[in-house]
């Protein structure tokens, strides 16, 4: 058998054969491709279509939020979604909770807030849930929420208002401005006035005392504190304290060595219960590094409620609470105290320089 064929004389398959080889499956493939392309194209078209029927465009108010964004807030604001616990609290304080359509999983104050529909975490809220709640306005904060979330809301055409208070005064102003945006000005005026009065009273009571040098512990392991440009740092000042951490980063991670070098007078922790149980403190006391701190040795620990972390009306309560712990001698009388969880009762505290307070240090 002669195997050799030069290529030029080789037999080619006829066009007829090739046509038969082309399968009926071609139209089938074509259909699927067409279906997907059609879906995409109509999606593109739908995106391009006008967002609402052109006939009735709702009235909007053009405002600038606290990070400089121009926002068109539809009027009136009937449905609000809050993406931060502090904003949820503020809305309740402004008696606007009826209009609150959605909150985050972490919005725990007041307790009724937990019954509201949830949209997920603050860092990663589920946009579909937000959209499904049909909000007129979404509230967010710069410190807790992500830029991407706000940008996504912009893309979806949903008004997002971002707050960013950097001092206690700014917190109060922020509450006022927020009230204006949602149309609850009257409620805010009374609230803010009361808060200002209490702060003024506190200032008077503290007088010209030397501020305590404190370390505010956001998280114990790893050790995270607060920077000087946060509202927390300002809150400490109002409470007669000064954070020993000097940095422009908002949540600086510190080494224990650094803290030992700084030797703050007091350590301040935020926890959910002011009256904390003692077990954790003892464990803490013997840890390397921590036990070298004067504040630990002398048990100069102050525990305040979580409200100190939130730029909301309760912040003032927490400031007062902290001041009482740091400067007990400034508060000789024992009035009805209202601690930060809203409970009233006679204060059992005596003016002792040292306090046996324990800490639930881990949040």
């Amino acid at each position: 058998m002669n195997f050799r064929q030069t290529n030029g004389e080789a037999r080619r398959s006829s066009p007829g054969e090739q046509a038969r080889a082309r399968p009926l499956v071609r139209p089938y493939t074509g259909f699927c491709t067409l279906a997907i392309v059609a879906l995409t194209a109509s999606g593109a078209r739908a995106q391009g279509a006008s967002p609402r029927p052109a006939a009735t465009a709702p009235p909007v108010q053009q405002i600038t939020d606290e990070i400089g964004r121009r926002v068109s807030v539809p009027q009136p604001v009937r449905r609000i979604v809050s993406l931060a616990p502090s904003l949820t609290e503020t809305l309740y304080a402004l008696a606007a909770q009826e209009r609150l359509a959605g909150v985050t999983d972490y919005c725990d104050y007041p307790p009724e807030a937990q019954a509201k529909p949830k949209v997920g975490g603050a860092v990663n809220p589920n946009l579909e849930q937000v959209v499904a709640l049909k909000p007129d306005l979404v509230l967010a904060t710069r410190s807790i929420n992500r830029r991407e979330t706000v940008q996504a809301l912009d893309r979806l055409g949903i008004a997002a208002y971002v707050t960013d208070p950097r001092s206690v005064e700014a917190v109060l102003a922020s509450i006022g401005r927020l009230a204006e945006v949602i149309g609850a000005r009257e409620a805010s005026e009374a609230l803010v006035a009361e808060l200002r009065t209490r702060l003024a009273e506190l200032k008077r009571q503290l007088g010209a005392r030397q501020p305590r040098r404190v370390l505010f512990v956001v998280w114990a392991e790893p050790l995270i504190s607060i920077g000087r440009e946060t509202f927390l740092a300002d809150a400490l000042r109002w409470a007669g304290a000064e954070s020993v951490v000097e940095t422009s980063q908002d949540w600086p991670r510190l080494s224990l060595e650094e803290v030992v070098r700084l030797q703050p007078d007091y350590l301040v922790f935020a926890s959910t219960h002011s009256q904390a149980e003692g077990q954790n403190f003892e464990a803490f006391r013997d840890r390397p590094g921590w036990r070298n701190l004067e504040a630990i040795r002398q048990r100069h620990i102050a525990v305040v409620s979580e409200a100190i972390n939130r730029p909301a009306p309760r912040l003032v309560d927490a400031i007062v609470e902290l001041a009482r712990q740091l400067h007990p001698e400034a508060f000789p009388e024992k009035p009805e105290t209202r601690n930060s969880n809203g409970e009233t009762g006679m204060s059992e505290k005596t003016a002792t320089p040292e306090r046996e307070e324990c800490c639930q240090c881990a949040r």
Binding site: M1, N2, F3, Q5, N7, E17
Partner: protein, 293 residues
Amino acid sequence: MSAAQATASRAHPAGEGAGWGPGEVRLNVEQASYAYAGEREAPLFTLEATSFQARQRELVAILGPNASGKSTLLRLISGALAPLSGRVELDGAETNRLDPRTRARRIAVVQQESSLLFPARAWEYVLQGRHPYRRALRFETAEDLAIATNALAQVGAEALQDRWMDKISGGEKQRVILARALAQQPVLLLLDEPTLHLDIGAQVELLQRLRQLAQENRYTVVVVTHELNLAAEFADQVVLLHRGRSLRVGSPAEVYRQDLLEQVFEAPLEVEIGPAGRPRVIVQGNRSEDAGG
């Protein structure tokens, strides 16, 4: 005869060297030499100017011990290397100047082993030999499949068609590898030590088949080997290499001189002429033992 075979045999005019025996010269190696760039420890290796010619239907053996430059010479012939001086021509065209596709249609190199990353069947492997004829973005045609099947038949491996390459024996694999080379429809067939992993039966069978294919398909076959007796038995021409130099080129009877072979292979050897006129090499035992010679 099948339709394909009938077409094939009609394609060749009778005037093209009909009959058996070597035809016209196809491969011309003219003073080809090579030198590898030296690595740190290995010395500079050279193949000094070597010349020989190979004809259609001829089987040439490049013979020599290890590290004599056989593989280098083969690579020069295959066009993978460009000679430092001299030229290697196939049908008048320099092999290393050809573009890879054209070269693959004329020269087929038979590997010793097949290293497949993913398991493949024998027919898939052989079909790879049709790659030089493939049209861009087209699949293999029915003709390609016929040629591949023919190739398998020619090496007697038709039954292995659907077997997995990693499941067949060494000898069977060798045949499939050869079939792939045949599917390339080359003019020149090159093999580098093809008998290395085969037992003597398989070695003889391979070389017989190579001679037969050379005749039937009009190949020029060049085989690199160090097997003295196989080369003597099956080669039409022998190129004897020693340390990069070609000591002798010619028919086995001309090349197989005792003094030459002993010099090259550095072993006590004796050459006798077999019944067919082909030399046979016998390894002498311990010299001290046969005192009488």
